[in-house]
Symmetry: C2
Subunit: 243 residues, 2 copies
């Protein structure tokens, strides 16, 4: 059975120049923080940028952006509200602060529905905050959306990187372009484990970001987010590897 919504998805995204999925095999590595700060950094550079939170069962970019509640406007689809200069969309506009217990098929449905109805319009970049692991959202996104690039986030932890490796292997098998890998929340700087392993996997090691306790105080504040170590490193990554 052909879902009529899937055929309109690439049409909906046709005026978006680049699609970047910020992803990790593992949760808690700072993926949402990096997706949000990357979007803000690109906007600071003068680009038109959208941010789409696809971590449906644990969304957090709305907290990072201090997004206001309230239903987005509709006009032949949903118009993403402008939040901190970004075109922004998240399931929390519809689920609010309530838990959103979603089964895989419902996750797929929410993804297809939001992709099919959101009117992103003209954008230079659309950044996706992906859920952790290799589940329905990533499988559907790869199936439904062409020309998507991945930015992979890990920490220095052996445990985190082992799961990240699995995701990277899957993306490589599927010939999905990977911009590179970022090592976040690094505490000891004399450990090159992630860099060495990333290169072995054929991935570009983009940057390491030191652990910065100012991040916690920057939540909800665009200016402060851009001044954390995450913001500073991403500015460099954007200039050297994304722009």
């Amino acid at each position: 059975m052909i879902d009529p919504r899937t055929s309109v998805i690439n049409e909906r995204l046709s005026k978006v120049k680049r699609l970047i999925a910020v992803s990790s095999g593992k949760g808690g590595v700072g993926k949402s923080l990096i997706a949000t700060t990357l979007a803000l950094t690109l906007a600071e550079e003068g680009f038109k940028v959208g941010l789409f939170d696809l971590d449906f069962t644990g969304p957090s970019t709305h907290i990072l952006l201090n997004a206001e509640k309230g239903l987005p406007e509709e006009d032949k689809g949903i118009i993403p509200p402008t939040v901190q200069g970004l075109q922004y969309m998240s399931l929390v506009y519809y689920s609010g602060e309530n838990p959103a217990p979603l089964r895989g098929v419902e996750v797929s449905n929410a993804l297809i529905e939001l992709l099919a109805v959101t009117q992103w319009g003209e954008l230079d970049f659309l950044v996706f905050d992906m859920p952790p692991g290799i589940g329905d959202v990533i499988l559907d996104l790869l199936r439904l959306v062409t020309r998507i690039e991945f930015l992979i986030v890990t920490t220095s932890s052996f445990l985190a990187f082992e799961t990240v490796k699995k995701q990277a292997a899957l993306l490589c098998d599927l010939k999905v372009p990977i911009i590179g890998i970022i090592e976040n929340m690094k505490i000891t700087s004399n450990n090159n484990y992630v860099k060495v392993e990333a290169v072995k996997l054929g991935l570009k090691f983009l940057a390491e970001i030191g652990f910065d306790e100012k991040v916690e105080l920057a939540i909800g504040n665009k200016g402060k987010l851009l001044e954390t170590s995450v913001g500073k490193v991403l500015r460099q990554v954007v200039k050297e590897n994304i722009m």
Copy 2:
């Protein structure tokens, strides 16, 4: 349609005295570490303990336990191998180091299949390492397995705790027993935010665990894991709240 496997699940678990799910709304908070160390701690106290890794799309307890590869034995079902003194089961025995991209319905199937065929036998405790968020595994487990208790893990991060709150709210709504909440990887000790909020939610605040960089070096080593701050605090939690 009734799945014949679901009717045997509670029969399979009938000789397990207590079922404890270690859970978090968010990934990367140390859930697998705490599930594994909790199981090891209970075993050290002389109990018969099983550990079942249900984080199918990002399993890591096998790395923490340094579990050997190789297919488990079968005898009227699967016999969980004994690893570091625990009866142990994980999907990695079947997927190996390959990525396991699973859709929700496949996650449900893997869960039902493993619950239906694994011969846990007599156990004092069976500890489940849950996937992050509120997805198929938690919804199925609550549906299929009665008398399961939850232990909730968070970090001090506002972002982590906001997602944890949603999961706790869901469990409270469903009248699922919650042993309490553990605050992990705490860096600044003069912040009572999580404790205060946990009590507001009607949850018991069990303990805080300071960030311990020795954890990274303890991966794969039972003795070292039990000597980390995680092991030390869990010994106290087990004595005061679980035994």
